[in-house]
Amino acid sequence: MYRYDEFDHDFVHQRVGQYRDQVERRLSGEIAEDAFKPLRLMNGVYLQLHAYMLRVAIPYGTLNGKQMRRLARIARDYDKGYGHFTTRQNIQYNWPKLSDTPDILDELAEVEMHAIQTSGNCIRNVSADHFAGAAADEVADPRPYAEILRQWSSNHPEYSFLPRKFKIAVTGAERDRAAIQVHDIGLHLKRNEAGELGFAVYVGGGQGRTPIIAKKIRNFLPEADLLSYTTAIMRVYNLHGRRDNKYKARIKILVNETGKYEFSRQVEAEWQNLKETVLKLPEYDLAAIAAYFAPPQLQDRPEGWGLIAAGKKNDSGFASWVHQNVTPHRHPDYSVVTISLKPIGGIPGDASDTQMEVVAELAEKFGHDEIRVSHEQNLVLPHVAMADLENVYRALLEAGLATANAGLVTDIIACPGLDYCALANARAIPVAQEISERFDSLERQRAIGELKIKISGCINACGHHHVGHIGILGVEKKGAELYQVTLGGSGDEQTSIGQIIGRGFEPEKITDAVETIVETYMGLRQNPDETFLEAYRRVGPAPFKEALYGEKFKAA
């Protein structure tokens, strides 16, 4: 993974120093809140319902054991013993004191982490496929490009006051695990016929109030042109993006209103002036960054095949976990392990300090010291020898981290919602917990198959409800919580935005509604292999509406 050089260290330390001074001056009353608020936000410090919240960037969701241990220590020493992993592959602490935040940032800087650009109208943490560098279906590791984008966009003066926040996602496989089509820019790393690397470029996707699927404006952009072309997009956006209306300021609105062809024409025109400038990436730079992401030396461990087979026979819990949470690695003797942060009835994405330490230790011992955070709020050990899987499983089991539900109906994404978030209209976590408990039987979950439920506590859609197979949006109606259901959303290579199925459900009725939807699907699927999404795309909303709203719907 990337290691800071002297410049990076200096930059981050200086930034913490500046911030420490700003906090001191704020606490002494020298700076007023209006002046201070943007400064704290630039360093990831928000104010929520109960306390401040600190959002720490985990670049493209990659970290090592030492960094995870530090996150655990911060949770213990400065917070209340836990952290919340988010759909942006970041971690949030819910209770830090403002006066402690400079010390926390110092602790992070020591392990090459920070909270810069986790807020504000700038280019945010670049996200990537959480299986990057490991997945069997990958063309190339997208993280070197994510890192190049990170370095280029960090503190970039031209992008410090964009019309609105800006999110870039990169994937290196056909199967899109990074939801690139609902990002401001989505990059799909691939090879052309000549075997050269480049990107399909998507622009103008996003969720929130106005969900829009990104438009593909380039089929193949050579890798050397990554920064010049991205700069061209940013310049068109910076020039024409609306600054008069917050709700119309994202690039998705600009692309939509300008039209794909005109927008792309403007980008191409801008690019002509940029493409042969210093922004062109020299091969040695690409190679230098790629070297940081060189795959670990994986010894052949063929004994794993036999060990796994025996282990599965002896222990059905282990067998289920392998079946559900273990994915093929590009090395046949290895696998990618998903650590579910969705225990039945638990809080999606939360991990205690001790759990973080267990994951750190497992990564160091069995996982070539690599950990990933997925946008589905789980953790990943990307390089585990099959021969070590049982050891990993036993340790996870003891730490309450071995729930065998990756991709199943209880692997629910939920944003913090009204339990923490100052912008929320309704709670999201209790809804996730109740649904999870309703479907607690693993047998039932597996019979249902792949089903992604995603829940947001307000229209900002941090819980990605628009791309949930079943999406749930919490709203406030007449002072009470109400949950609106969308069906048929998806955040993969065939991205779709879920459709609202009908009137919303009260908190005590939403779990029943979800169960009705699931049972309706079970009743109409053509065979057990037809997933919920496939079935929904085949039959449309009618049978679900009828099951949920009955005769009234039929008559209407």
């Binding site: 704020r26 606490l27 009353g29 007023a32 809140e33 104010l47 929520q48 319902l49 109960h50 306390a51 401040y52 209340k80 209770w95 830090p96 004191k97 403002l98 006066s99 809080i347 009204l418 339990d419 923490y420 929320a424 709670r427 976590i429 209790p430 917990q433 406030e476 002072g479 009470a480 919580e481």
Partner: protein, 103 residues
Amino acid sequence: MMKVLTANRLADGIAVWLGANGQWLESIDAALIARHAEAVDALDDAGKSAFNNNVVVDIALIDVTEIDSEIYPIRLRERIRASGPTIRTDLGKQAEFRQATAA
């Protein structure tokens, strides 16, 4: 409509309510209730002055009612602020309050 004044304390961000003695309290229980327009204005002034003096941030006048002489915010958002996350009853005011009564 009855109102109380709430905010978050500048240095640690903890939710607080203005009490009868002009102190910012960590629990809503002893918050000063404004029962008429002049009292609401007085709360508003107190809030602005505490904000200007860098004691608290995010001040808001919130609607409350009284049930069995306990202050009960009308909006769920404010009830959650007054008690803590509903999904972690071991945290926030609900936990601190319990500890206090147990002691």
